[in-house]
């Protein structure tokens, strides 16, 4: 009996499916437990990949719960690429859909933060600008357009996602308090670091990344979030080496 890879694949991911016939030991007995080695390899290696990818989620849930959740996730969303470093893109949405976890509403955004950290770790290298490049008259600064580093990402969460991340990764970090947070991820050299942004910071960065100049993005952000602090946001970007070019359009005279 021939065993197609479709049959093999389906039985690997679903332990309720019978083991394909045509797979045997040296005495021509049905493979039985021998097939389970492959089932186990797939499940264990992908579960391990999920633990590595989402250490804070694993800590928040507990290791055993993470194993169980990863077991469901990996069957619904097997990797679609051999680049395991990027496995788990669908995990935040998967967490959102888990009714049993609805009392932990912050989990999806924590997972988004962990995904962003991993992407930043593998992002392309770049040369940050000399901070002096932004020491220009205010009217020039407001006309400046910025290019951000590939590793730079900003997130907005209705949850204190930065505080939750910090509390679970650093000894002595303060207990998270309720409230929305904007987070900036940069990679100054090789180690990505999340920084707390002023309120409105993520929206402003998204506008700059979409090509608005500093002033346009500032006005639009202030209209939504009057307490937005541009100076602090720019300082965090500079400290994180996250600005790679500045273009100041000349005014027509």
């Amino acid at each position: 009996m021939n065993v197609s890879q479709t049959t093999f694949h389906d039985a690997l991911l679903d332990a309720n499916k019978s083991i394909p016939g045509g797979l045997v030991d040296a005495q021509a007995n049905a493979a039985g437990r021998r097939f389970s080695v492959y089932r186990n390899n797939v499940a264990v290696s992908l579960t391990e990949a999920m633990h590595q990818a989402f250490p804070v989620i694993a800590k928040l849930l507990g290791s055993q719960n993470m194993d169980g959740l990863a077991g469901i996730f990996l069957r619904q969303h097997p990797p679609t690429s051999p680049l395991m470093m990027f496995y788990g893109d669908e995990f935040p949405a998967f967490l959102e859909g888990m009714e049993q976890l609805s009392h932990l509403g912050y989990l999806p955004d924590v997972a988004r933060l962990e995904l962003a950290l991993r992407r930043a770790y593998h992002a392309a290298d770049c040369q940050p600008i000399d901070p002096e490049a932004l020491s220009v008259p205010p009217e020039d600064l407001m006309r400046a357009k910025l290019t951000l580093a590939p590793a730079a990402t900003a997130l907005r969460s209705e949850w204190p996602v930065h505080a939750i991340w910090l509390f679970n990764t650093e000894d002595g970090a303060p207990k998270p308090e309720a409230g929305a947070q904007d987070v900036l991820i940069t990679r100054p050299e090789y180690d990505p670091a999340p920084q707390l942004l002023p309120q409105g910071g993520a929206a402003w960065i998204a506008r700059v990344q979409n090509g608005q100049n500093i002033g346009e993005a500032f006005e639009a952000t202030m209209a939504e979030t009057p307490e937005f602090d541009l100076g602090t946001t720019l300082a965090l970007l500079l400290q994180g080496g996250a600005i790679t070019s500045v273009t100041i359009e000349r005014l027509d005279t």
Partner: protein, 285 residues
């Protein structure tokens, strides 16, 4: 069939180890007797950051072997062109001393299963694997080495022995072979054949690299030993003895220690490399 000019395996006939980032500093300080390093290609397919920076640094001091684990050469579906392009890019950038992949499949229906899955040794598989190897060697522009798998079961439909199957692949494609001696021992134990008999039938003249690794011990439903290729511990004595048997027949070869799970501290991995060096040193001239 591969052009002779592309046969460029330049690994030294000396011990190497599978590179783990936690050993970076110690390798730079105290590598001996390790003379070369192997990386899993897929771990270096990001755009930048520490992995590529470390690799660039190491490649200035050590010959590097690029070992793919995700190409799915035995897959029934076409090779992933994006993945082939990434491999071409990595090999082009690094110009490694060797490039290898597995006689296995891992991708089906766009799902990557993160394991090396087994193939029936039939004429149909042979044709498909050879077509894929021709394609890989054409795109990457290099000879590749093909590694024998660890087997936990057999396919009723198989009509070829594994050594004959591998020999025929090398004849048709011009690829070389990566002989995993632990895999031979694991498969021989699991499927009741003689590991020495396997080596006697195996085309040792095509071997560009040897792998050694640790395995776990289990049992099947009938109480038969079932060894599992885990790369998580020391190489066992019977596998070292099988290495001696191979080297006695093949002469010196590059010998790699693989340790991928529960990765030990550098001195323990180095000690395994020392043992490989002893095996190489005692080959009669």
């Amino acid at each position: 069939m591969l052009d002779n000019a592309l046969r460029s395996n330049r690994l030294p006939a000396a011990p190497g180890v599978g590179y783990k980032p936690q050993h970076f500093s110690q390798i730079l300080e105290h590598a001996k007797p390790v003379e070369w390093l192997e990386i899993h290609a897929e771990n270096y397919m990001g755009d930048g950051g520490r992995p590529l920076a470390q690799l660039r640094h190491l490649s200035e001091q050590f010959p590097i072997s690029v070992h793919g684990v995700g190409l799915s050469i035995g897959g029934e579906t076409p090779l992933d062109p994006d993945h082939l392009a990434r491999l071409k890019h990595l090999v082009g950038w690094l110009n490694p001393a060797s490039f290898s992949e597995h006689l296995a499949w891992s991708t089906h229906d766009s799902h990557f299963l993160n394991d090396l899955l087994p193939l029936p040794y039939t004429d149909a598989t042979l044709t498909r694997v050879c077509d894929h190897i021709d394609q890989v060697q054409g795109v990457v522009g290099r000879q590749m080495l093909l590694e024998n798998p660890s087997s936990y079961l057999a396919f009723e439909e198989s009509t070829w022995s594994e050594p004959d199957f591998l020999r025929e692949i090398t004849r048709r494609t011009g690829c070389g072979l990566l002989l995993d001696v632990n895999n031979v021992f694991v498969s021989a134990t699991n499927l009741d054949f003689s590991p020495q008999g396997y080596i006697d039938a195996y085309p040792l003249d095509k071997v560009g690299e040897i792998h050694l690794g640790g395995h776990d011990e289990d049992e099947d439903d009938h109480g038969h030993p079932l060894l599992i290729d885990s790369h998580g511990r020391e190489v066992v004595d019977p596998v070292w003895a099988l290495l001696d048997y191979v080297l006695d027949k093949s002469g010196p070869k590059p010998v790699l220690i693989e340790w991928d799970t529960d990765v030990p501290d550098w001195p323990i991995l180095r000690a395994e490399a020392e043992r490989a060096k002893s095996a190489l040193d005692k080959i009669p001239a």
